[in-house]
């Protein structure tokens, strides 16, 4: 197997590409895909040159084709291979360049950080609220939790399900028209990674309250600050967690990389 280093490495790169392109959901935009592939190839490159033995293994098959062989029969074959590889390579590069330049096939990559850093403090109906460290005040009132869930559900079904869906999976009957699509609260990478204060900020300020890195300037998430009361928002947050069976992240935990 040792001599096969070149094809092993080649297979690894192809596998990485296939995983990035087809396995990961949601789909990675193509510009980001190029970037990731550059990183993979760079990493493979570093790995190869870090070890002279490995580098030799890697280069040997290449060398064996390039360097003139004494045996005329082998040399004949090598020559063909050389012509083929060195002729096709520039052609492939040219085709790739041309396709990439024909803007017609492109569409802008709308890169967005789905969970940007929240502000430390917001003004809620002119009242300053510190988001950092803010807890859901209704959770302290354990006796009435069921009542809050019930009332939160009503808030949800009067205001949110059009977009976020009855199932809270982001598939409401308006969702088809939206880009970006409404947040899917049942996604494990979503609300269970967030503090309740983060949701409070997002619900209060909506898509327009997002910082620059959080938006392709197209979010239809409304701002609820002037529609719902502070308590309504805390209730609907409780309902969202309760109904999806998720736990909010607590402030005591070390922040994960969002």
């Amino acid at each position: 197997m040792k001599t096969d280093k070149l094809s092993q490495i080649f297979l690894l790169v192809v596998a990485a590409f296939l995983v990035l392109k087809y396995v990961i959901h949601p789909r990675i935009p193509s510009s980001l895909l190029y970037f990731y592939m550059m990183i993979v190839i760079f990493a493979v490159f570093i790995y190869i040159i870090s070890d002279t033995k490995l580098l030799q293994d890697f280069l040997n098959p290449i060398k064996s084709i390039i360097i003139k062989n004494e045996d005329p029969l082998i040399e004949e074959r090598n020559k063909e291979a050389r012509m083929l590889i060195f002729g096709l390579l520039p052609l492939a590069v040219a085709v790739f360049t041309y396709i990439n330049l024909s803007v017609g096939t492109k569409q802008p990559a709308e890169l967005r950080s789905i969970h940007p850093e929240p502000p430390l403090q917001i003004l809620f109906r002119e009242k300053p609220l510190r988001i950092l460290g803010l807890k859901n005040p209704l959770r302290a009132d354990k006796k009435n939790l069921n009542k809050y869930i019930e009332e939160g559900a009503v808030v949800y079904f009067e205001n949110c399900f059009f977009c976020h869906g009855d199932n809270l999976d982001g598939n409401g009957h308006f969702a088809e028209a939206l880009n970006p699509r409404p947040a899917d609260f049942t996604d494990p990478g979503s609300i269970s990674q967030l503090q309740e204060s983060y949701l409070f900020w997002r619900i209060s300020k909506g898509g327009q309250g997002l910082p620059a890195e959080g938006t392709p300037w197209n979010s239809a998430m409304p701002s609820w600050e002037n529609v719902l009361t502070e308590e309504d928002i805390w209730k609907v947050i409780i309902y969202i967690y309760e109904s999806t069976g998720m736990e909010p992240r607590r402030w005591e935990e070390k922040p994960l990389n969002r």
Binding site: M1, K2, T3, D4, L59, I62, K63, I66, I67, K68, F86, L89, P90, L91, V93, A94, V95, F96, T97, Y98, L101, S102, V103, G104, Q107, P108, A109, E110, L111, A153, V154, Y156, F157, E158, F161, F162, G165, D166, N167, D169, N171, G172, H173, F174, E176, A177, L178, N179, T186, G206, Q208, A212, P216, W217, N218, A220, P222, S223, V227, S243
Partner: protein, 531 residues
């Protein structure tokens, strides 16, 4: 040395072949097991939840968690969400079901209710409950049946509704479709509700209500993907012979031969749009070398593919529109060196001119707007105006038409309630509108650039220009911020730069060849020096 290598390659090959065979075998086994499990699950089907009190209790818990917010605690269709939905959630206490395999007005089978819960109802807010497990769905079926006394009564008198069997559909020939048209127009007069072209714009369709006095629309037969019962030939046949319970859609079984009913079915099928336009994020107009047509019916348009833009109700700012009547528009676009033109089509069962009806309902004008930012953002990542008519720092340019004055006007806006019309002299757009058989066709045209560089969008080639659409249906109480909207999409006017692209490609070839030569030279030199 050469020998050794070739031997180990052969070894490696053997290993990898064996490995691949093993892998394939494993995959086959896994697939087989999964298939068997699935089969056994499907075979169990109905037995997953026998009508025990535990199962009904479990169904009730699911109903209270998932369904009551629309269908109401007691199933009367009065949950908190019901005020915002069209069609409203069903009152399940009357057991009037639309999607049934039984006869006209009959009770559904358990399987029918199960299917509705599994598949949802197209074009309504009733979702497909894929989040529920098979067994949970059966439990819910049991509970839903307890909401209406009729199920109980049937049980007491031991009545089991008969399943309606439908034969295999005959071939849809041209003659059959032609005969079907006669029935549609003359014998059964479907057109009175569904309209001559099937867009739900017939004269009787104006004030239809269902059994609960909720307003209801006659289905638009040109959009079969929205049919509730289904758009396959057999489904449409079923709709015709059983009607739709609780709605004005009658059953037409008696007085017609089977052949006539299939002819009618084939005609209804033929009314559907053949190729439903695709959605897109980027609208790419077609370049036309000569003058741009000003004719709505120019055959040129037939050769251009339309794009669908899906709209939703404006529910971000009050006053809101929860139940828009126009859910999509179809857009075609062309351009040349000087101008750009859009042809927009949308279905609207009533042409509205402002006023009040005899019953005192206010009718507003029908209207449409195309929105652009006043200035194209530098890059797609640069800040864009808020998609709902902009904001004070980033205003938008609107191209407006309404059915009241039937004129085209330009406006600028810095927010929903901050719209300013441009003076007639400054307005650079012109256009035409026609309304025929439930459909609007609108053509609007403007020069790519204008003299008013601050207020008017200046079209540029090879740039992603944000574009959005708004539509108002005056008969649905839509005016001002009560409108159907889209978020931002892009308009892209391509200017082929073949020369430049070829140049860069040739450069790429040169660079690669130079790199190759250097690479080969070096390796050869190194090889010689090590020898």
């Amino acid at each position: 040395m050469g020998r050794k290598t070739s031997k180990s390659i052969i070894d490696g090959r053997n290993i990898s072949i064996r490995f691949i065979m093993l892998l394939t075998l494993m995959i086959i086994v896994i697939l087989l097991v999964e298939f068997l499990i699935l089969q056994s699950l499907l075979a169990q089907g109905e037995n997953l939840a026998p009508a025990s009190s535990e199962n009904i209790e479990a169904g009730k818990r699911i109903y209270m968690k998932k369904c009551q917010y629309c269908h109401g605690v007691d199933g009367e269709g009065d949950g908190p969400a019901s005020a915002f939905l069209d069609p409203p959630p069903r009152d399940l206490t009357r057991a009037r079901y639309k999607i049934i395999s039984t006869g006209s007005g009959e009770l559904p089978t358990d399987q029918d209710i199960f299917n509705v819960i599994s598949n949802g109802i197209p074009d309504t807010s009733m979702p497909a409950w894929s989040s529920l497990k098979e067994k949970e769905k059966w439990q819910t079926v049991l509970y839903v049946k307890t909401l209406a006394e009729r199920f109980d009564w049937y049980k007491q008198i031991k009545k089991v509704p008969e399943i309606v069997k439908i034969a295999n559909p005959p071939h849809a020939t041209k003659e059959s479709i032609e005969r079907g048209r006669e029935i549609y127009m003359k014998k059964l007069e479907c057109w009175k509700c569904h309209g001559e072209s099937g867009r739900g714009d017939g004269p009787s369709a104006i004030k239809l209500t269902d059994e609960w006095e909720h307003p209801i629309k006659a289905a638009n037969l040109t959009k079969p993907w929205k049919f509730k019962i289904g758009s396959a030939q057999k489904d449409i046949y079923r709709t015709i012979i059983t009607g739709i319970a609780g709605t004005p859609m009658p059953a037409f079984l008696t007085g017609n031969t089977e052949e006539e009913l299939w002819d009618l079915t084939n005609y209804v099928t033929s009314l559907g749009i053949k190729n439903r336009p695709q959605k897109t994020t980027v609208l790419r107009p077609l370049f036309i070398p000569g003058n741009l047509t000003e004719d709505l019916e120019d055959p040129l348009w037939n050769g251009i593919e339309a794009r669908e833009f899906t709209l939703f109700g404006q529910i971000l700012l009050a006053p809101k529109l929860y139940t828009p009547s126009i859910n999509e528009i179809y857009v075609k676009s062309i351009y040349n060196d000087k101008e750009i033109a859009f042809l927009i089509e949308w279905d609207d069962a009533n042409q509205s001119s402002p006023g009040t009806t005899e019953e005192g309902d206010v009718i507003y004008a029908d209207a449409l707007a195309i929105q652009f930012p006043s200035q194209i953002p530098e890059t797609p990542e640069s800040p864009r105006p808020f998609f709902l008519m902009g904001n004070p720092t980033l205003p938008v340019n609107l191209w407006l038409w309404n059915s009241d004055s039937n004129t085209f006007m330009e406006a600028n806006a810095e927010g929903v309630n901050r719209k300013k019309f441009q003076s007639e002299k400054n307005s650079d757009i012109k256009g035409k509108v026609a309304y025929k058989q439930g459909q609007y066709k609108l053509l609007v045209k403007r020069n790519l650039t204008t003299s008013d560089k601050t207020d008017d969008i200046q079209m540029e080639y090879n740039k992603f220009i944000p574009i959005a659409f708004f539509v108002w249906d005056g008969h649905n109480g839509e005016t001002e911020s009560k409108m159907a909207v889209s978020t931002w999409h892009y308009l892209f006017l391509e200017k082929k730069e073949t020369g430049r692209n070829v140049l860069y490609s040739i450069l790429a070839i040169l660079f690669t060849i130079i790199a190759e030569i250097i690479f080969v030279k070096r390796i050869r030199r190194n090889a010689i020096s090590t020898q």
